[in-house]
Symmetry: C2
Subunit: 156 residues, 2 copies
């Protein structure tokens, strides 16, 4: 089997996830975006964190993109692109559904389970994108409470 996404530019794929993160920021939400692509770079689903917008704690960016892609028999030929290193919840999604490749905007403001995924054979690309990091940094500075809530680390 050829390498998944051999002919696609990870930075190009990230533009869709970053656009979702920007939309989330404008809405006052947690500015994390994601998109699921097929192996040739075709978009299957895109989404952003919806905790604030919908009051839904289950929709992280990756799970929102996964949901938007709808039912598929398997994910062995897909690429998950996310603006931020995936938390354990979203890393678990990637592992369970056998998504073979993950492109990450940045892992500076938060590091989730991407090393764990790499240990389990997932190909990881971290782009260290300045805009993705700037969006997160601005949000966490202004709304530390919301960010902590989003990763289950809130105060009582």
């Amino acid at each position: 089997m050829p390498e998944i996404g051999a002919d696609v530019d990870p930075a190009e794929l990230l533009t869709v996830a970053r656009e979702e993160a920007r939309l989330g920021a404008r809405e006052g939400g947690v500015p994390i975006g994601a998109a699921l692509f097929g192996s040739a770079g075709e978009l299957l689903g895109r989404g952003r964190n919806r905790r604030v917008q919908d009051g839904d704690p289950s929709l992280h960016a990756e799970t929102a993109a996964f949901r938007a892609a709808g039912r598929r028999p398997h994910y062995r030929d897909t690429i998950m692109v996310t603006t931020l290193s995936p938390c354990w919840y979203c890393s678990g999604l990637v592992r369970q559904f056998g998504i073979p490749r993950v492109v990450i905007g940045e892992a500076r403001t938060f590091t989730g389970g991407h090393d764990w995924l790499a240990e389990h054979g997932v190909r990881i690309t971290v782009l260290d994108d300045p805009e993705c990091a700037a969006l997160m940094r601005a949000f966490v500075d202004r709304h530390p409470d919301l960010w902590h809530e989003d990763i289950g680390a809130g105060h009582s």
Copy 2:
């Protein structure tokens, strides 16, 4: 801090998740149910796998119950109850959100990440409930394709 759920009977909590699994079976869905409880056994949210019913691959039983519970600042005083050993996706949810205790109906028909959760300090109780296992066995026998799809192991 007192032990989470010290005064609750795990088998009693399971009745709610099992009722969700039964409803799912009647709807033709993947018969897995879950419920999130507070430390004194108060119900916070309940749900069932909704792949078939809603065409939504992101709603496993545990994520549906988590969603139904709505936004909370943290989950350090909650108990996740599920009829089946949680897959990596749902195990990741438990770990990320710091849910300290998981009650599992059965782990015979499928074993997910509950040993991994135990290694990371989550208290795991497996009840080996015959009805939970019978619901799953009947479903997997009749719809192996749907079951494999639900765990990302479907055929092309």
